[in-house]
Amino acid sequence: MSNINTSNPSHSLAELCVLSDLSVRTVRYYVQVGLVDRPDGETRAARYSNKHLEQLLLIRKWTSAGVSLERIREMLAGGDAPIAPRPRAPGSIEIRSHINVADGIELVIEPGRAGLSPEQVRAFLKGVMTTYQQVIDSTDQSANKTGRKT
């Protein structure tokens, strides 16, 4: 959309809604969540160009096709993540580390995809185990306190 001429005649919000066949609230919502660029000027003085209209029409087309707003955000951003992850080929081997943190809690790490070095994995695991221990200790302490009270 970089080749869109932003010096087109400007529209008020109401006009933009008529042209895009969307409600004022929906257009404003798209602006607020960053799917559509903010207008020139604020509140009642806000003006919208054909660039905004183009964005809205694209969003309308994609939402009616069932594309989620998060995905549309990526597509509008242009190239960041429109490519679906490459499907893993049948027969490809993926090795995962299953690290037992405690009974019933397991960390699953596929180092190739996670991009973590062994040192980073160790640091990560240490953090997880420390946090787990803190949660258990604090629960035990509060249980002991309750027990003493009763």
């Binding site: 919502y29 607020q32 604020e42 509140t43 989620s68």
Partner: protein, 792 residues
């Protein structure tokens, strides 16, 4: 000591605007009046717009909204939706403040609070009322607090506008407090909460229930009152709008004639989608065991599960026998929440299509977390089935499930994590076994005709409540009765009756609730949406009711210097993840044990129905599942000392049957001593014989013979069958000839060693049903015909 002020933050460190909810309620007579304070604070330096979508209970009616913004007390009005939206947008655009409350397409509510200035506080108090429905001496109050993630597109399937959709934050924590006052007879009921630890302070006339410990908005608050004496009741109150007119609320406790203990035919459908993982699937399994325990001889049932797809255990209904109950229990024990999404509509349609004769119901066990509920209800309504629902989880989609049950003539009950399932299942079976009441009608006092009355339910169940509203031009006296016709042509009989008392002044609550129910009924009548739109909007505005066509709107014009000069930053309040949803932690395993929880008589899942020990020694090591038998890899204890066999077994894979062919069975038995052959159904299953054949052997043939006899008869039938190598053409026959004949001869030699005790007539019966001259196929007639053990 360093004093650090506590603050709420989002995952990315931003401070939260929503601080939590404090609810207060009074339960008096037939009515619950709740007042829910929602606390917001803008901790930032910019003006923001807060959007918070939240649930209210089924058929709750919004009575009013009070707002305290900073130190200003504000009130608003209910007006037509488009007009309210226009006012809201204009107010925001002018830099002023507006608060708009909408009822969404899925009957959730969205609060829009625009231009909350920096550091400003706002408390929105939502007041709602709900008519209580007693269920067989019980009352279950449910205060929903969060909306769990739902399967499907909230905008496209659920009809929400983009800003009304919900998001979830795993780390969000919002405080929740509640105080309930129970008045009059309700104060003497036995009280318990399966959802929260509660403190109960009771006197003869007032019982106060508060939370026993700090709670959060992550699960429904449930209060169960039982051992209640309740009877039919009729209340008359002045109309809110029309002078002299009155509104009547008639609540009937249905009493059906004695002896209505019908045999049931029920198709059970269980949600095994990912959202059911953890507590929910365990509660579902406990419920299913309780359901199986309720079946008696003469009942019929089927079991199916669904997620992305639906999987039926049989092709039609089973007659209830010990064997079919055992098969059902075994199927339940193997359930897991591993079927992906929640394609409920397709699953229901497929279940409706299962063969049955006569009246049949569906019993659905689910958390109801789907967006496409309208389409699902429409599909269910076109079937001839009533849908009964057991809602599972700490925050099931109550409104969805009650609508589905109500609009198909069924009923709905709920089971929270850790709650005993038996009472709910018992209630459900009481309803299923009730006579189907025909042509329910109201009889008002003689010569009294209402201006309008809400339609009576299509069905009524013994001990449950039927509520009707009506409006009259003036006060009336006398009795109002609920009539039904037990069968076509019979005289109507009264199944509930109440006497109208004196006119009660209640501030318009009953009148507004009546108008709300009237508008709802008009909306459900085919075509009324377009024909009566103006009428329903006018009614809603006159009675100040928040409906599909009206919004609550409140505006505050600020001083010039206080007005916002830019579009507010959006702050959408993320929902707390429902406790235990998708297996994220377990509510059941928490240390707190709910009151009322009774020892369950449901059998713990066990391996008793899997392979017995002696069979496991033989066949457990065989990596051949019943569904996809493939290759015999090892046999730990084979008498022939064969430890590694790479022989390809002959199997069949069709929609009707997946498993070993007769020839595959011969291959399995080859080289093994008859003492090591399977002697149980479980062992046959382990060996790779397909489910339909084992079902037939177990559930039909096994009714008159022992398990060992049936399995031996089956194996003998296969081994002694006169197979023709050329039954499937000359070329294939030549290929088969070299393989089949020597194989059968070898196995036959073992059979004739006399170790197995064979019942010849049983062997013949099995051979006639299952076998043909083709060793690589089963008798098609067996699969094409409706099996004997199924409904016919």
């Amino acid at each position: 000591m360093n004093a650090i002020a506590p603050k709420l933050c989002t995952t990315d460190g931003r401070e939260l605007l929503f601080e939590g909810v404090i609810a207060k309620g009074d339960v008096r007579g037939l009515c619950l009046n709740m007042s829910v304070e929602q606390h917001f604070r803008n901790p930032g330096a910019d003006n923001v717009e807060v959007v918070y979508t939240f649930p209210l209970p089924w058929r709750a009616m919004l009575m009013g909204v009070d707002v305290v913004l900073g130190d200003k007390h504000l009130t608003g009005v209910v007006t037509e939706k488009a007009k309210a939206a226009r006012i809201y947008e204009d107010t925001i655009a002018d830099g002023n403040t507006a608060i708009m409350l909408e009822r969404n397409a899925d009957q959730s509510y969205t609060l829009n609070l625009g231009n909350l200035a920096a550091q400003e506080r706002c408390v929105v108090t939502i007041r709602y009322a709900q008519t209580l429905a007693f269920e067989q001496g019980n009352l279950r109050l449910l205060i929903p607090t969060t909306i769990a993630p739902r399967y499907g597109d909230m905008v496209k399937d659920g009809g929400l506008q983009p800003h009304q959709t919900t998001t979830h934050d795993l780390l969000a924590e919002y405080d929740f407090g509640i105080t309930l006052h129970l008045h009059g007879l309700l104060a003497r009921a036995r009280i318990g909460s399966p959802s929260h630890p509660v403190t109960v302070l009771a006197t003869e006339v007032l019982t106060t229930v508060t939370l026993g410990k700090k709670a959060q908005l992550d699960r429904d608050f449930i209060l169960v009152l039982d051992q209640l004496e309740h009877d039919s009741m009729a209340i008359m109150a002045p109309d809110f709008v029309k002078a002299d007119a009155v509104a009547v609320l008639a609540s009937f406790r249905v009493k059906l004639p004695e002896g209505a203990n019908q045999k049931v035919a029920v198709k059970i459908l269980v949600d095994c989608s990912g959202s059911m993982a953890g507590d929910s699937i365990e509660a579902a399994k406990r419920s299913l065991h309780a359901i199986i325990n309720q079946f008696d001889a003469g009942d019929r049932f089927s079991v199916s599960k669904f997620g992305n797809d639906v999987a039926h255990r049989g092709r039609a209904l089973w007659k209830v026998t010990d064997a079919t109950k055992a098969a059902g229990r075994r199927w339940i024990d193997e359930l897991d929440a591993d079927m992906g999404g929640t394609e409920m509509e397709g699953a229901l349609q497929s279940t409706f299509n299962l063969a049955h004769s006569g009246a049949c119901d569906v019993l659905l066990i689910t958390d109801g977390e789907i967006s496409a509920i309208d389409a699902t209800i429409e599909t269910a309504k076109t079937s001839s089935h009533r849908v009964f629902v057991v809602g599972i989880g700490s925050s099931p989609a109550e409104v969805h499930l009650r609508r589905l049950a109500s609009e198909t003539g069924g009923a709905c009950d709920f089971v929270a994590p850790g709650e005993a399932v038996e009472p709910a299942i018992l209630r459900m079976f009481n309803r299923l076994r009730s006579s189907r009441m025909q042509q329910l009608a109201l009889q008002w006092p003689v010569s009294q005709k209402p201006t309008w009355a809400t339609p009576v339910n299509a069905t009524a169940f013994d001990g449950d409540t039927v509520t009707v509203y009506a409006q009259f031009d003036q006060a009336i006296v006398g009795d109002v009765s609920l009539l039904c016709t037990p069968m076509v042509g019979a005289e109507p009989i009264a199944i509930g009756s109440a006497q109208l008392g004196a006119l009660e002044s209640d501030g318009g609550t009953i009148s507004r609730m009546a108008a709300y129910a009237h508008i709802d009924a008009l909306g459900r009548i085919e075509g009324a949406r377009s024909i009566g739109l103006e009428r329903t909007i006018a009614l809603a505005v006159a009675y100040q009711l928040l409906t599909d066509q009206t919004n609550f709107i409140l505006t505050l014009e600020r001083a010039e210097s206080e007005r916002a000069t830019d579009m507010p930053r959006l702050n959408k309040v993320a929902q707390m993840m429902a406790a235990g949803h998708s297996g994220m932690g377990s509510v059941e395993s928490s240390t707190w044990a709910p009151r009322f929880r009774s020892g369950t008589s449901v059998r713990e899942p066990s391996t008793a129905y899997d392979a017995p020990m002696f069979c496991r020694q033989d066949f457990d090591a065989v990596d051949v599942s019943a569904a996809t038998p493939s290759v015999w890899r090892t046999s730990r204890s084979s008498s022939s000392d064969r430890t590694q066999v790479d022989k390809k077994l002959d199997t069949i894979n069709t929609p009707q049957y997946s498993g070993l062919s007769p020839m595959g069975i011969l291959q399995c038995l080859d080289g093994k001593n008859p003492g090591d052959w399977p002697s149980t159904y479980a062992a046959l299953r382990k060996m790779g014989v397909g489910v339909p054949i084992i079902d037939w052997l177990e559930l039909v043939v096994g009714q008159d013979h022992s398990e060992t006899e049936v399995v031996a008869g089956f194996l003998a039938a296969v081994i002694e069958q006169k197979f023709s190598a050329f039954s499937n053409g000359v070329v294939k026959g030549l290929m088969t000839l070299a393989q089949l004949m020597p194989l059968q001869q070898r196995v036959l030699k073992y059979l004739r060693s006399g170790i197995l005790q064979i019942d010849q007539s049983l062997q013949t019966e099995i051979a006639i049903h299952l076998l043909t001259p083709d060793a690589r196929a089963w008798n098609e007639v067996f699969f094409n015909a409706t099996a004997e053990f199924e409904d016919n």
